[in-house]
Symmetry: C2
Amino acid sequence: MSEKSIVSLQKIREVIKERMKNIKYKIMVLSGKGGVGKSMVTANLAVALSLKGYDVAILDADLHGPTIPKMFGIENETITGFSAGIIPVTTGNKISIVSIDFMLPSEDTPVVWRGPIKTKAIMEFLSSVVWGCKDFLLIDLPPGTGDEALSIAQFIPNVDGVVIVTIPSLVSQHVVRKAISFAQKLDIPILGIIENMSYFRCPQCGQIHYIFGEKGGEAIAEEMNIDFLGAIPIDRRIAECSDRGESFLVKYPDSEIAKSFMNIAEQIIKKVENRKNG
Amino acid sequence: MSEKSIVSLQKIREVIKERMKNIKYKIMVLSGKGGVGKSMVTANLAVALSLKGYDVAILDADLHGPTIPKMFGIENETITGFSAGIIPVTTGNKISIVSIDFMLPSEDTPVVWRGPIKTKAIMEFLSSVVWGCKDFLLIDLPPGTGDEALSIAQFIPNVDGVVIVTIPSLVSQHVVRKAISFAQKLDIPILGIIENMSYFRCPQCGQIHYIFGEKGGEAIAEEMNIDFLGAIPIDRRIAECSDRGESFLVKYPDSEIAKSFMNIAEQIIKKVENRKNG
């Protein structure tokens, strides 16, 4: 890379920092592997924080599909660029969303740009977002611990913590270790582990089935000496809400899932506040 | 990139081609998104082809964890390098396996090398594998349609077809479109779509639950004018077998899943043979 382009990347980084200076807490949501429901967890955690009265924004930095916009029913929205910069899209529940997918040309375009070009484009895009004053910014990273997650993680300044999402199976526990190692290398504190798809309660007979294994998230949390934030059961209504762009927590506030997310949100608030004040 | 390194990459590509010249059919397994069970599908498809009497090899090119070796219970094996090159590990059911994870130093190391270095290392690794004579090579690509999947896909010569794995939910259908577009850009024929986690049959009461949505895989296949190869239901015993490194198809040959995989294998054999002979 030439000296000139390093200088320009450095400048972009500074602009991003300036743009994010009025965000109180920045939290990354990471998984060692895709498909564990990281985006679902990010979206519902944002809703939980918002229901608790906080101003919340989401940066959907997962390049493999506009999952977050779709979950909030805003996938057909376009971001508006003013001279001041790009303004996030606001959802019905007042969450501000910026998705990297918004900058892609068409729904069917796979992201086949090569690394360096893509990283630069993402950085330029990010450096023009007008976030304003927010209590929380949740960052939905690309799955895994590869280049994409690393590139994006590196140019978001002063991240307050990482939440790791996993599913219970042992095969997946294996990759959680990589996620923990990734967070440690980036020197970002790990707030804890959320276990998704923990079990399925048959709506017909009430029997609980540990489809993807039993309590693997708790086991790995204990083994790695990391807090276990909570378990989210499997619920077909989650997929239905996601597909329709409806908020599960608003629609089913008394569900096990909603209670679990509210509890997890509370733990995260305490953790980041203690860290900032202590 | 300097002229010299382009020449050297070109040379590595030629060596890989030479190394793979006695493999009859090369099939890539792709997903638009992680966590849809792509590696599980690859592993069981390999077993199904092997049970039908074919010589099968797997290239586990998914960098985010040694899922394939773990599923076959060979994650602690090390590949042996002779002067002739690297010899794949052979499983109990005589499937030859090479995992890119074998070249990584430790279980907990996340892949945080930057793109170009990583690609070169992978290519050099691949160029030294002694595959020998095989009927089928299944290539488990990294999830998604990003740089990693693209880099690896690009340096495997003369691929006979792509199988796309998805789950039924609509949110995931969205990303299937990206996978199709990805295969088309690489100019590899699409053999069809496999829908994983299609439904869950409660072992207690027998009720079928479409946990992740109903028949989304069939719908997207029809919409995109692509063959639907089959549906794989959710079965807790799959996770158990994966965790223990046991072969599900050998252990439960009469299960719905086993029958579905045997049927899918048959369709794939017909398709590639017709293509080669026609």
